[in-house]
């Protein structure tokens, strides 16, 4: 039992922080901080990813052979925390964090050679074709079908909640290749699909925050060469499950919550109620302290998990961290909204901000806090809703 942080790690965090502060353009930083969800353009994402690649930090979790690092989980955690806290863009997760480990574990050597370098530098910007209109929590019921035609696959169907499909040029996609399989999980394969195929239509889905993060994707007789099959046919479910197990150590998003709590404090420090600073107002002060403590508790749980991972101890902490980390993000965006008072009612964000500063001079608020509150409702829904996380814990951990 030794909770002290090695000097080496502290030095490393400082190095990452200094690098980001030196290299990250202000406008990118402001976009990341302001919108909570990554609404950078694809080019902006490539710009930053290539900066990180050049520094050797492009894909820390990958094996060194493919351009990764030899950092242990604690060092990677530290890195991610600083990246989030500084408002630097997080790597696009789909290619780097999800598909790449699958290719490394289950792909062919040819696929690794072809895809990994291009994923690393975002030449290939992947999106994830999993959910469908009728298949959300019950993913195994998916209907998009792929039929053999010579060496090719011909794919038709509809995908839903395909985040950043409008920026991506590739999609890894779960498709039904054996409708007759005994269990639905057994008839699913994973294909890599170019998004510029004429059979693909991407339709924007605008979310509550008024932004375009996600899409519906329609596939109409999309022809895919057999070489784009990941691993073996009808093993797609195995890969999808494995994929959900990668980088589970970061699911709590501690760095993001640390940045959020800083923003709450800054906003609260600028506001007074009845002449009393909001930070001294009993109810607000109590909530802020309470969430800061909650953050500490989630962080300690996360660090305990990392300690276990390093020692290969088992644990379902990732499911707990998903639940508690997502609830915390929601509570923080809600408190941020509360910290802005009625200013948070405004919903023409950039405009209101500019014009009000002109009109009153002393108005000082973030125009995006309510959009962020609304958008953050999704974090208890996506990546396995918190209800599903509870089900998993009940079954796997408690054997109920």
């Amino acid at each position: 039992m030794d909770l002290s942080i090695p000097q080496e790690l502290t030095d490393f965090a400082a190095e990452v922080r200094a690098f980001i502060r030196a290299e990250l353009p202000d406008d990118l930083r402001e976009k990341v901080i302001g919108r909570r969800f990554d609404i950078l353009s694809a080019d902006e994402k490539r710009f930053w990813q290539r900066k990180m690649v050049a520094k050797g930090w492009g894909a820390p979790a990958w094996p060194v052979a493919y351009g990764g690092t030899d950092w242990d989980v604690l060092k990677r955690h530290t890195f991610n925390e600083v990246v989030a806290d500084e408002g630097a863009p997080m790597p696009v997760p789909f290619g780097q964090g999800m598909l790449a480990p699958i290719l490394i574990e289950f792909g062919s050597e040819e696929q690794r050679q072809h895809f990994l370098p291009r994923i690393l530098n975002l030449e290939y910007f992947f999106c994830q074709g999993f959910s469908e209109p009728g298949s959300g929590s019950d993913l195994a019921s998916l209907k998009t079908k792929a039929m053999r035609d010579g060496d090719d696959w011909v794919v038709s169907g509809q995908k839903m909640w395909t985040s950043y499909a409008h920026q991506a040029n590739m999609m890894f996609c779960l498709v039904r290749t054996d409708p007759e399989a005994e269990r639905p999980q057994q008839g699913i394969s994973m294909l890599l699909i170019p998004m510029d195929d004429p059979g693909i239509t991407v339709r924007p889905v605008i979310t509550l925050d008024g932004e375009h993060h996600t899409n519906e994707v329609f596939l109409d007789d999309v022809r895919i060469p057999g070489a784009n099959l990941v691993g073996e046919v009808n093993k797609g479910w195995t890969y999808a499950k494995a994929l959900l197990g990668y980088e589970r150590t970061e699911v709590a998003r501690i760095g993001l919550s640390k940045r959020l709590i800083k923003m709450v404090k800054e906003a609260a420090a600028k506001r007074t109620v009845n002449g009393v600073p909001l930070t001294e107002t009993p109810a607000f002060r109590r909530k802020l302290a309470s969430l800061e403590i909650e953050l500490k508790a989630v962080e300690m749980l996360n660090l305990r998990m990392l300690s276990n991972v390093r020692r290969n101890l088992p644990g379902n902490e990732a499911n707990m961290l998903k639940i508690k980390g997502s609830e915390l993000q929601q509570d923080l965006t809600e408190l941020m909204m509360e910290a802005q008072g009625t200013d948070a009612l405004r919903f023409d964000r950039d405009a209101a901000l500019d014009q009000n500063i002109d009109l009153f001079g002393d108005v000082d608020y973030r125009g995006d806090v309510t959009a962020n509150y609304l958008a953050t409702r999704v974090v208890t829904i996506f990546s396995g809703s918190n209800e599903i996380q509870h089900n998993i814990l009940a079954k796997e951990l408690l054997d109920l």
């Binding site: 839903m160 108005v363 509150y373 609304l374």
Partner: protein, 365 residues
């Protein structure tokens, strides 16, 4: 003690509900409301109104909330017309009220001066006496309906010191008065608001509403009526949202059965239903007291309602998005619109914490 609607209230409910169902998002909804007589509720028959009390407003408000209607019914009819009826001169009433009833004039009410819920004591907008009238200077942010209003009822100090209840006055300021600056924008639920700024706006003496220097109790009344009215609107929105969510639970199939068969979702839906019923109970309570004259009793009842209903709205709003899953996050599905309306409700006219504190301040004895 009877919680059922009177016959005339039932008719009103049916008419309002039908109007909202048929034309809730029509551009001329305001004129249609006027044609149905809804804008005359609470206004004396002598001025073209139909009379009635807050429970009649409540019936209309619940329909408006249930149908997501964007309107200025609260600032214009529930609050503005009531202030004019209560404090206006015969001339003011005779000129303004018929226009309100006819849907020809809308009113906003501008009191708060910071983004926080604060008592009228903190109002600092200055009204200096000049020959033949007053000169107003001050700023009022996020005034509901002020983006489109013809008249804004503005509170200002004609005397007394900062922090006092004395010396506060109300003015009927036409929005085309020279020097009145407005910046309008939509708030999160799509309703309109504006920041207004006045830097030495000259007003005639006839714009004074009520007795000079004695507007504090009118401002409290406006605060309470706004909050109580928002509560009724929110209950309508909660009921509609719960109905939508329940329907989703019955029709969305996952794992081979409607998701409403999962016990964890059933219990959450039950909790949301209970929250709606608790909210409805408190909205009735708030509405019943909103017509009252006794400041502390009225303030406690309204703050109890606003605080409790804010919590209920959070339970229903957040719960419904969660139960809907992804579809609840999309902007073109009604659940999100209801959630935004309930999110706005929580921020308007003081949030749950503000009203809990006000309730405690007014005394838990």
């Amino acid at each position: 003690m009877d919680f059922t609607l009177t016959e005339s209230q039932s008719l009103l409910r049916d008419a309002a509900t039908r109007l909202v169902a048929d034309h809730g998002d029509a551009p001329d909804i305001w004129q249609r409301m006027a044609a149905l007589g809804l804008l005359g509720i609470g206004i004396d028959e002598a001025h073209g109104g139909t009379g009635g009390g807050f429970h009649d407003h409540a019936v209309v408000l619940e329909a408006l909330g249930g149908g997501l209607v964007r309107s200025v019914y609260i600032p214009t009819v529930v609050v503005g017309a009531h202030l004019i009826s209560t404090a206006g001169t015969d001339a003011q009433q005779a000129v303004l009220l018929p226009k309100i009833v006819a849907g020809e004039m809308t009113v906003a009410v501008a009191n708060a001066e910071s983004a926080s819920f604060e008592p009228c004591e903190r109002i600092g907008t200055q009204a200096d006496r000049i020959a033949g009238g007053y000169r107003l200077s001050g700023v009022k942010p996020v005034v509901m309906g002020a983006d489109t209003a013809d008249v804004i009822i503005v509170s200002a100090r004609t005397g007394g010191g900062p922090g006092g209840r004395e010396g506060l006055s109300l003015f009927l300021v036409a929005t085309d008065t020279a020097g009145m600056v407005r910046h309008g924008y939509p708030i999160v639920d799509g309703n309109g608001a504006a920041d207004i700024a006045m830097d030495g706006v000259a007003l005639g003496a006839e714009t004074l509403l009520g007795t000079e220097g004695e507007a504090a109790s009118l401002i409290d009344l406006a605060t309470d009526r706004t909050a109580a009215a928002l509560c009724c609107d929110a209950v309508g929105a909660m009921a509609a949202l719960n109905a939508l969510t329940l329907e989703h639970l019955k029709t969305r199939v996952q794992f081979g059965r409607p998701i409403g068969k999962f016990q964890i979702l059933q219990h959450r839906m039950v909790d949301m239903t209970i929250a709606e019923e608790m909210a409805r109970s408190m909205a009735v309570y708030g509405a019943d007291e909103a017509d009252g004259d006794e400041r502390v009793a009225r303030g406690k009842a309204v703050s109890a309602a606003k605080s409790k209903i804010g919590d209920c709205a959070r339970t229903v709003g957040q719960g419904s998005i969660q139960l809907h899953g992804g579809i609840g996050m999309t902007d073109d599905y009604a659940a999100g619109d209801y959630f935004k309306r309930l999110t706005a409700f929580e921020m308007l006219a003081g949030n749950s914490e503000d009203h809990l504190e006000r309730y405690a301040f007014l005394g838990t004895a």
